[in-house]
Symmetry: C2
Subunit: 808 residues, 2 copies
């Protein structure tokens, strides 16, 4: 026993004596059940026939290509089996997240033994034939993946990309007071940044109203080919680290199954009892007493990598070494020695004692698992759509900005949205959360705090009453980690609830990869797995936009997240660019009602001109794209030019350009098209929201010049429209990485999305203006120079720009 | 004094008594110097005229728009001033990284006081007029940004996006044995994932050969609008946390400047002495003795946010509260009370004592700073290009694969590359490092270990001798954190060295945002700042590609990083898709010689067919795009179709398609074009590598069908080529989010990049085949069905597919 184990054993003993050890019979049965898990795990890796080894194993019964991960399987199943005991003993409601998702055989084995796998996939029945199919499909073309993929009942965390298990776990626990979320954290995963900071999630969990997260740090010592950092630092540092993170660590360490079972039984039970004690204390406190953040228990499970597997293969150490990471015996198909070794190893689990003659787990072991919805793999929280209730929503029309004429008043769209979200929050005080990295107020959503403050379980100081807006019972989630927020959010919706996240635009790239993974999860769930009930969408408000980084400058200018989004399946991605507050309200309402999407909403926080009445906004957003008549003068005819735009700031500049042109270029017929739903631009064959070519042509004409002023990188519009009839006439303006500290107009000018450059674009492309508009073009160029000079002199834009309104 | 401070004070005393306290005169002068810093910081935020307040401050002298961050300025300058003392006393070589880069006024103020700012920007001279310009330009259009942007002498870390200060610091320290890298870590930044795991970088720093990193965790308590987690957890948890991370934390805490100066002087000096002691011990050890990882010192500086600023403004607490984050006094321009308050505050620093009548820092304070290259802001390590020496490179041709005829032998390209990198390493044992997240061997670069093992400062076990390849003096950097690796790499090249990073393709998205920020840094440095000498490129090898995720499945399939790269400036981005090992060698050599780029190289690790001799490869890669004659049969004529491809796996499938077509469609004239340098596809007006339209048309014809088989998402090719003459005839195949566990051919078929679908694409698009090739098309469809069936039955592809060669 190492120092940490010794000291932890001492700590383990320090608390209550209620945790019992196993009787001989319990121990025997738990170990047998565990052997069944391990047998199945090995079977998945190797066998395509003869699943119970009822006859001597032959090379032909081995899969042609051996794929999968053995390393953490036994340790994970060990944990699961011990959790089963406590679910039964204490009637717990518990789900299991596998951080080392590569060890999916553990989850799959338990799922199969609990009968859930056969219920969901009847052909994988609980008998020889079903087991054979179950084995063969694993990590096999046409079968299932080697992680805890969406196809895996009981899983809400695939673990293909590492780092998010713990934040997913906390998301699942929020507002689920009776749920325990057991999260196995791999020691490889623990090295990632997102995981390293997510241990601090305990500062945002309120024991009075939230469930519990029980992390099990699985120190099996190795990654693919390296030792792990946490497995080799001195034991005292390991203990300090987790105490420093605010946890009470309990260590279970060893390799002898019998001893380990006793240790694990004691420690897991102690953790459950401590969790209950913490919760009872918080929940029985007098009204008004603010709960303090407890030091929640966690487990450090130090078991050998590849535990119970072959100790040595061909002269190489395998168990308790990185060589156990994937396939422990490499070549049973062609090497008879390997084949024998494999058979001997698999038989060491004594399958004949575990499964009856039909191939079903023997009855006394069957009884070890919980039943019905208490089975971990059958827990409805892990198929959150089953529990999901639609949000109760206020009528978003009640929050409308009163727009009497277009382009006359300025309002912060996100501030308006904040009022609506406040009332969404009020009506759904146990199933809706808003997430943001220290920026909810900066993003002008501060009306939310009238419904609920920010969650804060640490000390609150007297001065905080002056606007800090923090409280232990707050429901607005702020931590300066986009990773953790997105992880919480995903965990929250995956277990059937609802949410909304806002981020500075540039830094939503921090979670590109999390978006990718969630979109992949949704695509599989939605298109291939009817048994997974739809979950609420991830709603991402992208704000503090590229065009308003007046003081943050170049680092804060990046509208490229939309490019990442458009690479994912059209079945699960939506992008909206509402041009004003009423449109934003309409879009937000639509997104909050939706399921199984990632909705990306792009809307700025600064005050902007408002254009549409609420009725007009609803119609416009429902169509997703449309001609704005007030800005167009091509009634009933083909225009000379189409001015199109997407995004609030580009829309304002495009309108200003149109105003200039209509004043100065008599007879010019302009059509003004605004795009809210970006995917309307795609062909209908490529995206469910795509316009037909006929619809598209009716808006953009077949041959007239189109000036498209876009919020993000111009090439994205080309990517979406290159197949359209009139694409060759599309001239798109967007951000082109030109910026520093700039006034709004100056930045627009640098990237040519400003009113003056747009007007020049029109003049350059409409033949009939070539002769007549030379003077106007000169004037426009002068405006550009004057604007820049003014900005550099005074640091702000000219008054007539700042206060520009649509001429009425 | 809080508990942590008390306990730390005890710890502070536990070690050697050599750290001295300040004399009265030293204290007076240091405080005065610090006041000068703080005065300048405030001046930057507010003043456009009257920089030294020689006349009563008037509203018209205030900037029209107040932008910038005050919160951490005083604490950062405080740290800098104390480091100055030690640089002088111990002749240290030291640079300073500002994690809270938003507090750039601190860095800028010190840079100005040290005279470096005026040397680099002579118009910002050390006098009234220069100071006025220095103030006005700050966070001002046409001026400089409010972070430690590339324009800031002495900075290698902008801090606009939070999370990377410490990993940048370690990168700077590696192989710089005499350098101390002081890193101020903001307590907001400390909540991010990347920062949270980067504390573990101490496990990868070898005191015998590397410099030291001295982190100063700046606990000023607040973010924009929230308290920070680390500032409010119990003091004992804070101490455990950093001891758990393996550091020895020293606490400096308070607000009274006189007391704080004494504490800081003692603690900083103690840290420097401890660093020297650790280094001396490691460096004087007997040869062969493996150094142990020491517990390096770090500082926790708990000072009030907005320290020395206004305590209260308009009834609101400001100092020591989040309201000090940005502009502490909001409206001096129009509110006379605010104006008075501002003047009083700025005068409290007594500028008349600090600056002489010309506006220059008084001489006795000037003497407080180091001189020449010892000045932090003038340290050449922070302008690493000055120190950079080109790599000594072996001749890459010596590693050539012997290709006698195209498409006959299979080789792992990255394995070949590993041999070359090994010898690059051998020739540059103090200036070249290779980075990879636990995957160097998995990515088949394991020959590297013949030159150097993986850095590992923790315990090494006997079994590690069997292939773990770890050693304290290793130079291959592996940790399971892409963020940390990329941060190390950036810090390493920013200080004048060289490196190479490999990553699984899907997970390079984890560092999308880091790539964005580094590309922005490079663009400004390269295009606008002649004084910044060119630094080595970031070389990213993207491998374990989407098309070979046979066992990892859908989560590991994402080739979208290229889309992110193409949004950044063409002046600093390069993308290469070498089709075989010889091309990979040629490309790698080119990238290692280059400066000021991010080079992205896409090459798979699995064995693939080889096509070009080394001479051919060099020619092909130099052109970046070209016709492969061996695969074309259109000699001297217009082809019927162009088969184009980019990427090793798409190239192999495209070739197989051509072989099928040439065998079965007599008379069909095919031109085969391979693209290595992706930006050759862009117009020459848009990218320096772009082909002219004439060159492009000569390859792709003006009107013949082009089937383009692409490694990544098809839309990227459209994005790059939509302006080309023949774009309407481009039919691009690429990854379209269809995948699971698949054989290589099956995955290709699902996404239609396989030989059979490509051949069908040709048949469908070449008019003369419509009549004649119906039978072939049927045969192709049968092949597709048979291939899928075989894969689902056996889990592998048919032998004739696996062993296919180009027909000779």
């Amino acid at each position: 026993m190492s120092a940490v184990s010794a000291s932890a054993a001492k700590a383990n003993k320090a608390k209550g004596a209620t945790a019992s050890t196993l009787t001989t019979d319990e121990l025997r049965k738990m170990d047998a059940y565990w052997r069944a898990c391990n047998y199945l795990s090995a079977g998945m890796l190797y066998l395509r026939e003869n699943p119970l080894l009822r006859t001597p194993l032959k090379a032909g019964q081995i899969k042609d290509r051996l794929l999968g991960h053995w390393g953490s399987d036994a340790g994970q199943s060990f944990t699961w089996v011990h959790l089963n005991r406590l679910i039964k003993k204490y009637d717990l409601d518990l789900i299991f997240l596998s951080g080392p998702g590569h060890g999916a055989p553990a989850t799959l084995a338990n799922c199969y033994l609990e009968g859930v796998y056969s219920e969901v996939y009847p052909d994988k029945s609980e008998d020889d034939a079903g087991m054979q199919k179950f084995f063969k499909q694993f990590s096999f073309p046409g079968g299932i993946g080697s992680h805890c993929t969406p196809e895996t009942p009981g899983s809400i965390h695939e673990g293909g990309e590492l780092g998010y298990s713990l934040s997913h776990g906390f998301g699942a626990a929020f507002d689920n007071p009776n749920l325990i979320v057991a999260v196995v954290v791999g020691d490889g995963e623990a090295e990632t940044g997102p995981l390293a900071t997510s241990w601090h999630s305990n500062k945002f969990l309120n024991p009075a109203r939230d469930g519990a997260v029980l992390p099990i740090l699985h120190l099996n010592g190795y990654k693919i080919a390296n030792p792990t950092v946490l497995a080799r630092i001195p034991a005292e540092e390991l203990e300090w680290l987790f105490k420093g993170y605010g946890w009470t660590p309990y260590v279970v360490e060893g390799h002898d199954p019998a001893l380990m079972h006793q240790q694990m039984a004691e420690v897991t039970e102690r953790c459950v009892l401590e969790i209950r004690e913490i919760q009872e204390k918080a929940r029985s406190a007098k009204a008004g007493k603010v709960p303090e953040r407890p030091r929640w228990p966690m487990i450090i499970l130090r078991s050998p990598k590849g535990w119970t597997g072959p100790k040595e293969v061909n002269g190489h150490k395998v168990e308790d070494f990185w060589r156990a990471h994937q396939i422990p015996i490499l070549d049973p198909k062609t090497n008879p020695v390997d084949l024998k070794l494999l058979e001997k190893w698999m038989k060491s689990y004594k399958p004949e004692e575990l499964f009856d003659k039909t191939g079903r787990l023997v009855e006394e072991l069957k009884e070890m698992a919980p039943v019905g919805a208490k089975r971990i793999s059958g827990n409805p929280h892990a198929n959150g759509g089953l529990l999901r209730k639609p949000l109760e929503l206020p009528d978003f029309r009640d929050y409308a900005v009163d727009v009497k004429k277009p382009g006359q008043i300025e309002v912060s769209p996100t501030y308006v949205l904040g009022g609506y979200l406040r009332d969404v929050m009020k009506k759904n005080m146990t199933s809706f959360r808003v997430f943001g990295p220290d920026e909810t107020a900066s993003n002008r959503l501060q009306l939310l705090y009238e419904a609920s403050k920010k969650t804060w379980m640490e000390k609150i100081l007297p001065e905080d009453s002056d606007g800090t807006e923090i409280a232990a019972d707050g429901r607005v989630m702020e931590m300066l980690s986009e990773h953790t927020l997105e992880g919480w959010f995903e965990g929250y919706v995956l277990t059937g609830r609802h949410g909304f996240l806002s981020s500075y635009e540039a830094f939503v790239h921090i979670i590109d990869s999390m978006f990718n993974q969630h979109a992949k999860w949704l695509e599989k769930s939605k298109l291939e797995l009817r048994w997974r009930a739809p979950i609420s969408s991830i709603n991402l408000l992208i704000t503090s936009l590229v065009w308003r980084q007046d003081h943050n400058g170049f680092t804060h200018q990046d509208p490229g997240f939309l490019d990442v989004v458009t690479n994912k399946s059209p079945h699960v991605t939506r992008i909206y660019l509402p041009p004003d507050a009423n449109c934003l309200l309409s879009v937000a309402d639509h997104c909050l009602c939706s399921t199984n999407y990632v909705n990306v909403i792009v809307a700025d926080k600064a005050p902007h001109l408002q254009y549409l009445t609420m009725d007009e906004a609803v119609k416009h957003c429902t169509k997703g794209i449309g001609i704005w008549n007030f800005a167009s003068n091509d009634a009933g005819e083909e225009p000379d030019v189409v001015m199109a735009c997407a995004g609030d700031i580009p829309t304002a500049e495009a309108l200003a350009a149109v105003a200039i042109l209509r004043e100065r270029c008599e007879g010019l017929k302009i059509r003004f098209v605004n795009v809210v739903d970006l995917f309307r631009l795609m062909p209908e064959t490529e995206h469910p929201h795509g316009l037909s070519d006929r619809e598209f042509d009716s808006l953009f004409t077949k041959d007239k010049p189109v000036i498209f002023n876009f919020h993000a990188y111009a090439s994205l519009i080309h990517k979406l429209t290159y197949r359209r009839t009139n694409h060759d006439s599309f001239h798109v303006r967007g951000y082109k990485e030109k910026g520093n500290i700039n006034t709004p107009l100056e930045l627009a000018i640098l990237n040519q999305v400003d009113r003056f450059n747009l007007a020049i674009d029109v003049i350059d492309r409409v033949p009939k203006l070539q002769a007549t508009a030379a003077h106007t073009k000169e004037w426009l160029k002068e405006q550009i120079i004057e604007s820049i000079n003014y900005a550099h002199e005074y640091g702000i834009d000219r008054k007539e720009i700042r206060e520009w309104k649509w001429p009425v």
